[in-house]
Symmetry: C2
Subunit: 332 residues, 2 copies
């Protein structure tokens, strides 16, 4: 069972009886070779099971038609939807995507970016606006367009596409206050930049109304049961709590579960609001109040902008704000 080397263009060429250049042309555009040559080459390629080799085109400085996508987490549903948006665009434009994640760690992000760049990707979509100095240097050196998604903070690199997390949570909490809730607590997990922005929006709304800011936070990564736990802890520490604003839907749903366990009536005794507008918020009873974020659109627009810039277009808008929507549901 000797390990055969995998076939090269030359191997295909030998079968057909031409030079590998002809095979190369056929693979890039079949119409470039004569009709009977097309069938002969097709057969040989099929017979050998030829697999293209990207190495040479990486050696030359040709475009790779691959772009890198870097998300902090795959367990977070948000990014699955953003990725879907990105790929809806890249698929049509003939770009392949290389996906990586880094568990909210700057150092891991750097490592992943180095990995992706080592494959000469044509562009890069990041999910944060905070990077190590080395990351910034690498990206500058690579000289490829970069997009930072998710928030509309002024981009650390070139261009950002997202929504205003601060404004969104400010509006949501203001609405809760308008509904008459006074002792609203902020529930947060996984303290990334966006979580912090949302907390600041919460604080602004509370302070504007002369209310006290309280929070229940953890570094643990978000989950439904964590939401339940945080609510339980909140009720112990702040017994007069009449509302919680959660940094995402998962926590909010878990909080609702805990209220149901403790027979706390929503929204009469307790208001609960989340962030993102995932499907479960619509499915559940009561329907969850939440900020609906344009996740798929963020992906689509990011990919469009990136590809436009790969094609040489200048940046027309450094910051693209795709907005959000407040959905009241039945939980506030």
């Amino acid at each position: 069972m000797a390990k055969k080397k995998r076939p090269t263009l030359q191997d295909v060429a030998n079968i057909v009886g031409v030079t590998k250049m002809t095979i190369s042309r056929y693979l890039r555009d079949p119409a470039k070779v004569s009709a009977d040559m097309q069938t002969k080459i097709a057969e040989a390629v099929e017979e050998l099971g030829y697999i293209p080799n990207r190495a040479p085109e990486l050696l030359s400085n040709a475009k790779s038609h691959a772009i890198g996508i870097l998300v902090p987490s795959l367990t977070n549903q948000v990014f699955a939807e953003v990725i879907r948006g990105i790929e809806a665009v890249t698929e049509k434009a003939g770009y392949q995507t290389m996906l990586a994640h880094y568990g909210y760690s700057d150092e891991l992000e750097e490592e992943r970016i180095r990995f992706l760049l080592s494959y000469h990707i044509d562009g890069l979509i990041l999910s944060e606006s905070q990077h190590t100095p080395r990351t910034l240097k690498m990206i500058e050196t690579a000289g490829i367009p970069v997009i930072e998604m998710m928030d509309v903070v002024s981009p650390a690199i070139e261009q950002s596409v997202g929504m205003d997390n601060f404004a969104a949570s400010y509006q949501m909490v203001s609405k809760m206050i308008k509904h008459g809730y006074k002792n609203i607590v902020y529930l947060g997990a996984r303290l990334d930049v966006r979580t912090q922005l949302r907390q600041q929006g919460y604080e602004k709304a509370m302070q504007e109304n002369g209310l006290l800011c309280k929070s229940m936070m953890t570094e643990t990564s978000s989950s439904f049961s964590l939401g339940a736990t945080l609510l339980k802890q909140t009720l112990v520490k702040y017994p007069d709590t009449d509302g919680v604003f959660c940094t995402n839907d998962d926590l909010a749903v878990g909080a609702i579960h805990e209220c149901q366990r403790q027979n706390i009536k929503i929204p009469q005794q307790m208001a609960i609001a989340g962030f993102h507008g995932h499907d479960i918020g619509i499915s559940m009873v009561p329907r969850l109040a939440t900020v609906v974020t344009p996740r798929e659109k963020i992906g689509r627009v990011s990919a469009q902008q990136l590809i436009a810039r790969i094609d040489g277009q200048e940046i027309d808008q450094k910051v693209i704000d795709l907005g959000f929507e407040i959905r009241c549901g039945d939980s506030i």
Copy 2:
């Protein structure tokens, strides 16, 4: 703003005043060059922001220390956890992962595999045991080890790691029947192989007990609200339904939501069971009856087996069954 070519080893070498070979040695193992050379090279590398280039090592038939992971879907939480398991192992072993997904389409799977193979990955982890003929040919040609995850069907390629979906659903449905439920309906979405195996397990259990098999199925991809919809439709079509077995937790949770909306008491009037054992099933009220699948372990073991085989070990077990656990919760 002339586009600078990105720096090569030669550029680093020119700064330091040595040949690129010395730089290459340093990058692979700093101890291989003299002490003062180490600092000089480190500075130059930092200054240029040198990014490694994988092309040459792809050209030579060297190992790439990258493996490919192919999952049908990223929105499906199951795979996020499997991937976490895989990467826990690959990270330690010094392998990079290239992740791709294909939306349950054989053709897209083929395309993704071609893409991954074109980067000379050292091994491949797939999530299905059904592939196009061309896919099989390519994999054979590539001559790299392949693992098929998720179920314990006899592997289409070489080795499979997973659990017995058929037995699991058979046991769960049997348990529901033992609890006294008779008119149990199977709720399914996204008709992939594992969904079908689960349905067959359901049917076996029902038939063994002389009960009638009924199902409510759709090709739409799974979601919480789809679970609610399916339950609603089930109650219209089969009004005497007293239990539903769902192909996954999402559908089951949605079904519970719908029961809550319609004031159907769980488990007194309706039994509901899911599949996988996701966090939400523990968080929610009532706690969901479900089959707990070893998702992360499937990932870990798959990666271990793959790496062992990349290192030349022979296959010791063609099929590795990692078992499952029935968790009753409060919903049956």
